[in-house]
């Protein structure tokens, strides 16, 4: 996970953070409502093209393979699903396939958007700081938390208290305490570090901030947004 999240910049067509956010929202709504294969395919194609546009070839290809594999499994297994095991396999395949586009757009946002761009875009929409700052922090902190969590799990294993089903049932309070306390302590420490860093970037100042990256909604953004919203509307009328 850590390697995948390495930041890469540059894309063929510049896409505004607001557009990515819009596509993300549209995708998650459509993923919940849309049931027809064709439209799910369209959603996936949109997310895939955006990934390729952001020069995330390797990641995009990986997702394409997973998608095709699960679609194939779904077609082959769907009719014959009878046993409990088969049904579970089937459910996992479907859920993964339905939410793959959402996940892909999310990763696209994480990988190809700088926090400063993100804040500038929110600012342009006249969101108050009270919303902008926590949201951008959330955005950045998700991958960090994952790393911390892996470290904590290792430390727990070291003490013979691995995060396993058996331990959760036999010693729930101990597992809970040993996982929660370091996690919270880490969170507080990271928050302190982030606030020190943001102070040095002038986030605490009362004046209006400027951003060196141009944040503007262009022709491409309008097209992508129309496609995303169009997919959503078409799924809304399907029922």
């Amino acid at each position: 996970m850590g390697k995948e999240l390495a930041f890469s910049c540059g894309s063929f067509l510049k896409i505004d953070p607001r557009t990515k956010m819009m596509v993300f929202i549209c995708c998650s709504f459509a993923a919940l409502k849309e049931t027809r294969w064709l439209f799910q395919g369209f959603l996936f194609a949109l997310a895939f093209l955006l990934l390729i546009n952001g020069k995330q070839y390797k990641y995009g290809m990986k997702m394409l393979c997973i998608y095709v594999l699960f679609l194939g499994l779904d077609i082959l297994v769907a009719g014959k699903a009878t046993g409990i095991l088969l049904i579970t396999v089937f459910a996992v395949c479907r859920i993964t396939r339905m939410f793959l586009p959402v996940y892909m757009v999310f990763m696209l946002m994480m990988k190809t958007t700088r926090v400063s761009e993100f804040i500038a875009a929110f600012d342009r929409m006249h969101f108050p700081d009270e919303i902008t700052i926590p949201f951008s922090v959330m955005f950045r902190f998700f991958p960090m938390m994952w790393e911390e969590w892996e470290n904590i799990q290792n430390a727990m294993k070291f003490r013979g208290l691995s995060f396993s089903v058996k331990n959760i049932f036999t010693r729930p309070m101990q597992v809970y305490e040993c996982a929660m306390v370091p996690l919270l302590a880490d969170a507080v420490m990271i928050a302190d570090e982030l606030s020190a860093a943001s102070l040095s970037r002038g986030l605490g100042a009362d004046t209006k901030r400027t951003c060196i990256t141009e944040v503007k909604i262009g022709f491409v953004d309008v097209v992508v947004m129309i496609i995303a919203i169009g997919l959503n509307i078409s799924s809304a009328f399907a029922f």
Partner: protein
């Protein structure tokens, strides 16, 4: 509490704790989602587990509006099924904030306000009660017919009140654990 306005530092804390809060809910939901009976008890489990997150957050940012921001962030993520959930969670956040302000951020106040806020995890279930067909249709897609039949059988309307009830109990319990943890670990370590 001399300066009651939220500063950048407080907002960053809100973001970090919201991530913890949301991550635990999402992981719990996807793990318990497979078994209907456990899934329905999610508000209780989440209430107990998230107590320490909430109480440490309140101890770190004892300011007006802190809970409301957490409510907005958590609500925005949970409202994937319906936008109504966001307003529901926001309303709970405002009530929790009022309780906190009235009790002056005492241990009891934190516990009580968390018992209210813990009801937010009932939010995603609201669709199950008020827009049953939509919810069931979606579930057929995910888990298949057998799962839906079972879920339908074990969730009559009155279960909504049971869920809120267990959320409150879980919240009181979790808040208690959180306060104990604060005193036992974080105050000593200088974190809280």
């Amino acid at each position: 509490m001399k300066n009651n306005k939220l500063k950048t530092r407080d907002l960053i804390f809100a973001g970090v704790f919201a991530v913890l809060y949301v991550a635990v809910i999402v992981i719990l939901a996807s793990v318990t989602g497979m078994i209907p009976v456990v899934y329905v008890a999610l508000p209780f489990i989440a209430g107990v587990l998230l107590g320490p997150v909430y109480s440490l957050y309140i101890t770190k940012v004892p300011k007006m509006g802190a809970v409301i921001i957490l409510a907005i962030l958590a609500g925005a993520v949970m409202s994937a099924s319906s936008i109504v959930v966001l307003f529901y969670v926001l309303a709970l956040g405002i009530i929790a904030q009022i309780i906190l302000s009235l009790t002056g951020y005492s241990d009891k106040g934190i516990c009580l306000s968390y018992a209210v806020f813990a009801c937010s995890t009932v939010g995603p279930f609201l669709v199950l009660y008020f827009a049953r067909d939509v919810f069931m249709n979606a579930c057929v897609q995910y888990y298949g017919q057998a799962y839906v039949a079972k879920l339908d059988a074990i969730t009559p309307f009155w279960l909504l009140f049971v869920q809120i009830g267990i959320a409150v109990i879980g919240g009181l319990f979790g808040g208690r654990i959180g306060i104990t943890m604060n005193a036992k670990h974080f105050k000593k370590a200088g974190v809280a």
